[in-house]
């Protein structure tokens, strides 16, 4: 009970922090819009490639952008933690009876909340520019849940690496190193059957691809719930591992204080 309450306090603190930076909010919202419209226009004729199943590239791309945005925004989660450590805010929490788990859980939960809000906006925009999601509300909800899972996972990983590196520049480098390859080694922009075979094999192990494939299936006309459940299961397992990693990293930080 205390753990839930403390996690909630921390989540609200982080969301308020985000809300207080209107420019940051604007940029994180404009970015996916640009992805959607720019790539939507750039790759418009992808649907003409033989073997592409579907009639609208925007409709195909939108779940991909939802997932990609989830990763992009939550991968920076550790930055705020490093700042808290440097400012002594974390140490202040550690001398108080706050539940330790809440200090990490609050950040992960915040990422999940942000991902759902961003996803709502992207889906709404995609609908405006002519995409359709035959999977209906249930399918879109599943897409959001999968994105939130991925966002939480990257939030946990980012906090874990942040705690190990303890340096904002190092974390920036690591995030930049990792997010683009993960995006392009997936079916985000092209259907799986159209990307090179070796990439398909790599993509099988890419959590971003799990989320894209499952999310896209969920909003399609004939969702493959077996596949969605399997990929969601992978993501849950990875989230559990990432949280365990972040928790261990936090414990080692505590020992180093």
């Amino acid at each position: 009970m205390t753990l839930i309450r403390h996690t909630l306090y921390m989540t609200l603190r982080h969301l308020r922090e985000l809300w207080r930076q209107p420019w940051f909010v604007a940029v994180t919202l404009v970015q996916p819009v640009i992805w959607l419209l720019l790539f939507g226009a750039l790759f418009k004729r992808v649907i003409e490639i033989p073997g592409f199943r579907g009639t609208s590239y925007i409709g195909f791309l939108a779940p991909g952008v939802v997932v990609m945005t989830a990763m992009f925004s939550s991968a920076w989660s550790g930055m705020a933690l490093i700042e808290d450590i440097n400012r002594g805010v974390t140490a202040r929490f550690l001398v108080s009876p706050v539940r330790r788990e809440a200090l990490i859980a609050g950040r992960i939960l915040k990422e999940a909340v942000v991902v759902v809000i961003q996803s709502l906006i992207i889906v709404a925009l995609a609908l405006i520019v002519g995409a359709s999601f035959p999977g209906g509300v249930a399918g879109v909800a599943a897409l959001f849940a999968i994105s939130a899972l991925l966002g939480a996972t990257f939030g946990a990983l980012s906090n874990g690496f942040g705690l190990i590196m303890r340096q904002e520049e190092a974390l920036i480098g690591a995030v930049q190193f990792i997010v683009l390859p993960l995006t392009f080694l997936s079916a985000t922009f092209l259907a799986t059957n159209l990307i090179p075979r070796w990439m398909q094999h790599v993509a099988d192990f890419n959590p971003v691809n799990w989320a894209v494939v499952a999310g896209r299936s969920a909003v399609s006309a004939n969702a493959d719930w077996g596949l969605i459940a399997a990929r969601a299961g992978f993501l849950v397992a990875l989230l559990a591992l990432s949280v365990a990693f972040a928790t261990r990293a936090f414990q080692s930080y505590q020992r180093s204080v």
Binding site: V89, V95, P97
Partner: protein
């Protein structure tokens, strides 16, 4: 004596082979202000980290309000308020939000926390800025907010780690007044660390002088000064001389504890006023040029010199280059 804080033989070394604490022991009576005085790097902050459950000692025992720090850290955390070195406020939140979160963590909720926050904002002169983001606060205001946050749950024991470091002299004086008021609150125990001699002298009822991870002397400021019989004589020389100068003075009767540090000669005498002419005479006959002479009642600096064999400034410089 009711003991609020007890440290017994604390040892702590850090991975790079630095020994921060080397058997540190002291006890603080309930309801008093106690200062750990020493240069930067003496181990004061490490001691505070252990007592406030942030770090674990390699050896030794410690308790706060009768609770074992190592066995029951969570119970200790409910009992203490901590103001760490440097500000630790959330600069992206308002003063009120900082206080509210701190209170909520301590289980104060609803109307109770709103009232408590208001009360503390008033008391620390932050009421007019309560709903401003703390990023815009001055250093002094952030420091006051730090202290207010540490007091939210009305802790029995308060730790202040270098509370006035980095503050303007003016703000520092305000801070001293505030700490004095805290100490006057019934039953509150305050442990203060400082490397300002006058801060310890002014605020603390008892002082422990810490040097290289150990307590080298402790007592009331007056006790400590009284142990140095007589007055301190400081002679500033025109230029640096070698060690033979101090030997010149050793020959003078009524003078003892002669030491030289750069261009400053220090000595002690039971009656400083009478000893000065003798000192000057001896120096003149040895051909030593004197620029000024001062006679002073013993200061904590002298106490420090006596117990550690180096002046406070020299110790600071040494720690800084380590």
């Amino acid at each position: 004596m009711n003991t609020a804080i007890e440290a017994d033989g604390l040892v702590k070394s850090y991975p790079k082979g630095v020994t921060a604490l080397d058997g540190l022991s002291f006890a603080v009576a309930t309801g008093t202000v106690f200062a750990l005085l020493g240069p930067n790097g003496a181990g004061k902050s490490t001691a505070v980290k252990i007592l406030t459950t942030l770090a674990k000692p390699d050896a030794g025992a410690a308790s706060v309000a009768g609770i074992d720090v190592i066995a029951s850290p969570d119970r200790v955390r409910r009992t203490i308020g901590v103001v760490s070195q440097g500000s630790a406020v959330d600069i992206q939140a308002t003063g009120r939000e900082n206080l509210r979160l701190q209170g909520q963590i301590h289980g104060i909720r609803g109307r109770a926390i709103e009232e408590r926050a208001e009360e503390l904002l008033e008391r620390f002169g932050l009421a007019d800025h309560a709903d401003r983001i703390a990023r815009g606060y001055s250093g002094g205001m952030q420091r006051r907010l730090d202290i207010a946050m540490a007091l939210v749950h009305d802790p029995a024991v308060l730790f202040l780690d270098e509370p006035t470091i980095g503050l303007d002299p003016e703000v520092r004086a305000d801070m001293w007044a505030e700490i004095g008021r805290l100490a006057a609150e019934r039953g509150k125990t305050v442990l203060l660390t400082t490397h300002y001699l006058e801060e310890a002298d002014q605020l603390a009822e008892r002082i422990a002088i810490v040097d290289r991870g150990k307590v080298v002397a402790q007592g009331t400021p007056d006790d400590l000064k009284r142990e140095l019989r007589g007055d301190a004589i400081h002679v500033d020389l025109e230029r640096e001389y070698n060690g033979t100068v101090s030997r010149t003075l050793t020959a003078v009767p009524a003078i003892r504890d002669v030491s030289i540090d750069g261009r400053t000669l220090r000595a002690r005498a039971d009656d400083g006023g009478r000893a000065v002419p003798l000192v000057l005479q001896a120096l003149e006959s040895a051909g030593v040029e004197v620029s000024s002479v001062r006679v002073a009642r013993p200061s904590l600096d002298d106490v420090y010199l006596k117990y550690t064999g180096r002046t406070f400034d020299a110790a600071e410089a040494e720690e800084a280059t380590r």
